[in-house]
Symmetry: D2
Subunit: 330 residues, 4 copies
Amino acid sequence: MSPVEPDRTDPEGAIAAAAKRCSNWGRWGEDDVLGTLNFLDDAKRREGAALVRRGAAFSLAQRFDAEGPQKGWRRRTNPVHTMLSSGLDAEFGPPEFPHGLGGADDVIHMPLQASTQWDGLGHIFDHGIAYNGRRASTVVTSEGDRLTGIETVAGRIAGRGVLLDVGRAVGQDGELPDGFAITVDHIQATISAQGESSRAGRGDLLLVRTGQLTRARRDVAEGRGWGDYAGGPAPGLSFTTADWLHDTEIAGIATDTWGFEVRPNEFDVAFQPLHQVCIPHIGLFLGEMWDLDALADDCASDGVYEFFLAAAPLPVTGAVGAPVNPIAVK
Amino acid sequence: MSPVEPDRTDPEGAIAAAAKRCSNWGRWGEDDVLGTLNFLDDAKRREGAALVRRGAAFSLAQRFDAEGPQKGWRRRTNPVHTMLSSGLDAEFGPPEFPHGLGGADDVIHMPLQASTQWDGLGHIFDHGIAYNGRRASTVVTSEGDRLTGIETVAGRIAGRGVLLDVGRAVGQDGELPDGFAITVDHIQATISAQGESSRAGRGDLLLVRTGQLTRARRDVAEGRGWGDYAGGPAPGLSFTTADWLHDTEIAGIATDTWGFEVRPNEFDVAFQPLHQVCIPHIGLFLGEMWDLDALADDCASDGVYEFFLAAAPLPVTGAVGAPVNPIAVK
Amino acid sequence: MSPVEPDRTDPEGAIAAAAKRCSNWGRWGEDDVLGTLNFLDDAKRREGAALVRRGAAFSLAQRFDAEGPQKGWRRRTNPVHTMLSSGLDAEFGPPEFPHGLGGADDVIHMPLQASTQWDGLGHIFDHGIAYNGRRASTVVTSEGDRLTGIETVAGRIAGRGVLLDVGRAVGQDGELPDGFAITVDHIQATISAQGESSRAGRGDLLLVRTGQLTRARRDVAEGRGWGDYAGGPAPGLSFTTADWLHDTEIAGIATDTWGFEVRPNEFDVAFQPLHQVCIPHIGLFLGEMWDLDALADDCASDGVYEFFLAAAPLPVTGAVGAPVNPIAVK
Amino acid sequence: MSPVEPDRTDPEGAIAAAAKRCSNWGRWGEDDVLGTLNFLDDAKRREGAALVRRGAAFSLAQRFDAEGPQKGWRRRTNPVHTMLSSGLDAEFGPPEFPHGLGGADDVIHMPLQASTQWDGLGHIFDHGIAYNGRRASTVVTSEGDRLTGIETVAGRIAGRGVLLDVGRAVGQDGELPDGFAITVDHIQATISAQGESSRAGRGDLLLVRTGQLTRARRDVAEGRGWGDYAGGPAPGLSFTTADWLHDTEIAGIATDTWGFEVRPNEFDVAFQPLHQVCIPHIGLFLGEMWDLDALADDCASDGVYEFFLAAAPLPVTGAVGAPVNPIAVK
């Protein structure tokens, strides 16, 4: 069932072939801006809501602050949060308002890919071509993404979520090592191990836990720092999952790693080849740097791996990705 | 039923009296950081999820961009979104990655109160005192809110939402004029007009539509600009609703205006006196600049004013407020 | 002496003709990144330094803050300056350092064209062509100006400055009205009126005062606000001065207006046509939003219009313009 | 001549004693905001200008970009420079202006202490007290420095500069090792070695080269990165130089290190004790992270260590420090 290994020496050919097999160009019309979110319909949202049994809620976002994992790669820094006024001003400073009213305000500067986020369809191009066969230059200029900006999906991403805890099912002590390529076999094994609630299909939002974030946080806690969590080696989806990702007709997929797919990649020379297939060709929404640990513990404990998931990105006009605080409710 | 008008000439006294009547200090222990979100429990989330009948979803966020209403008051500017790389670079610039992979990235600078947001409990102080009786200076320093930062509620705000379309029920053509003070009578009249699905109680998230945003957007569309939408006169909650807001035990309340309460305020000299009672004393979560129009149209059309609401703020560590893309699902 | 008025209906032709007459492409070799700053040599700096007689110094920068004239045009906002820590933290907050040491730090977010600045040679293109005939796309990508970034002139802009107070010499009460086009005749009249110290030639840095900033500041002081100072009608250089600017071989020219040239421009339909000749073809350095008032008062008082001028832009790597605090010493 | 070593175990006492000996509080009146810049007068500027013999100019600023030394300490990041529009937009994007005009604009986000800068008088406090005996809380609030903001010295810092190349005079291969404390003896030895042009006195701007930046840049070039250049061990001024810095009546002093004084500091437990004396008590202007290498090479070559120095900080209103591109002209 799992496709044969692609030729390590021919990424260009493998990418082109997968792109051709998995293309959704034109599937929803030439004006489409939603890609695989077309699969996430009202029925799927009803199905998701019906999964709420206990009412327990889990935030799947990392914290947005200066202590995060970014190191400046591609000018991606950690968020810088500063106060415009503080409680010290309110208590000790000159009064700003009458009758004892005091206020604090704040401001943030951050790359939109700094922490927990959704990639938009304008985030990745293949040979200068964006999703649905559009020229990259007509989609994303210096003014932002004029067609598929993240605001176009502001109200859609809520539905049935499924956690695939591959780290627990396949890994050692709940974690996959860096460089571990998650194949379709691993996915199937995880679904088998987790049971019926883990089936994944059309319109679902898949969450894949590798355990890398667990490890990175342990490294931080023990003084070793984040290492290359935000841009280096990582467990992740194998290039060979492209067809499965396409054929299953999921609406989106998110991982607890910076880059969704395995690093180093599975070709001698390549950089994120699975992105190159998934975003411009499948039109698949990818979530990265999600914190799946608390949810995973809960799922392991009650054996239920499906839930309602609301993961609406901040609708920054023209953004090619956006931060999000996803909420899973079981 | 509606309280007597407060003495216009004595805001300080009126605020102090309301604060005393409505205080929740100590109610959930001296270490509490959740305030009225304590009312939003798992049972309420189950109740909310059970309201999903059609699966229709609505984003309640305005767009985050440079065309927004901010004019620099309190150094609140509109979000500035810039590209770190664009589709033009990918199509015409020097190749950044092998095999035709191109990527676009972006960055944002914005006040956290710039657009659709939740106020955190560290946003407002009364005579130098924050929620639960803490000294403002021990809560919010230049490093941010060290106790009640918005990240502390990252995983809580999902539950039953109720829309009170006061603009439609009480206003002219669906809109309340600037300076219109919404009293408890207006709230009750709205609930009566809307019917059973509008009852509001413990743990609910209340959305109050005044219609001001509808008007402001019309002004923008017709070339008159935003005017003072982000800091000037507005319809909003009357100071006299403080007790109702406290006694009803709602978990949060959000409006389509910049400041939740009516402006000009109802005292001869005052600035946001209801904030001064609600945030530090009630511990109430206030949402501002929410876009309730599409949801309101739908509610008017099907007569159902309750829904599942997921409104998880971006968990910026130490933030005294945070942007949010709330999703209502009916 | 003044050239004939260009045909108001043919900006494209007029620009092309002026560009051809005034081109400096290749004049300093195909690798040149300095443009007219090639004229500013060590001898000119000696000449400038020799002009210091009293030692009086004048800052020619406006203040960089949130109260500035920007209104968001082209996403140009006013600078947002926020504190990372303040004196309130130092006096009342938790101690950050031992033995009573306290510190305050700050951060800024600003467009590089927000206030007093130099345009770099990568700021303006003519039909996709940058200075010296280079393709714009090879010079300025999303990563910045890779060839003529402002850092390339970090150590050059110090020399002989000359003030041409056209507002005083030609205007009413020291000010030219918006839309006033300064021609070569006006320049010559100003030089004549001011006397010998105002001669302008090879390698000089010319400062042209129109008086618009004086007027704008009066408007601010009297409650009318900045109006369109940062992007609207203004007095400024006539398109017809292009040849004079080229032939005089000045090293740079700066004005007290946002855009150096007259607005509305002198064609029926045009936008900043003189920029289109000066930057990509002449390679001329343009300074904008300089505050010349205090210096002008002093020059009017002692009759000396030449001085040493040090105006080194902040060397932001790859910037197409940069803020500067120019210092004139007489 | 050099003071005795301070007691390593009593920083608090040593700081207090030095502060008392060196205090300039009240020296220039209780409203003074200029501190030692009062020493820099018109006569000194004339003296400085008269030093220009060849007209050679040197920028003393490092480059402001994402490749700088900052690592996030105290939320100090490297500057993030992004384009609002680029040459790719101008050449290939939709036309923004008529007749082929294209433009590029950019924006920056940076801590004001990120690179080459002057500390303002509001940057450091001693036990909650700022320069001239003012309470820190009355000087620097969340709105910035209301009294001694860097804009107050916008037009002053131009005069006679003197380079003391201690690295060359006292160090090995032109560099002092990290932790090397420069004493008055080292200063005197450097002046003796360099000769008459190096005498330092009232109103001068002293530049002290340690060679640490030379070393850090070598580390970067050879792949070892910046290390702790922006906040770690460094050569620098000894605490024992406080009296000399005060008595010599210099107007300002700048080094090629991040923190001006030696690190580790000369007490068992201390953090920048010399700052604690120099800024709030002497009112001395400190420059940090200046690039003195090219100038130092020139001085070593012609034996002349004095020059005209223009070092006007960017006048950010209320800033407690500001970036600067200093220009030395010999």
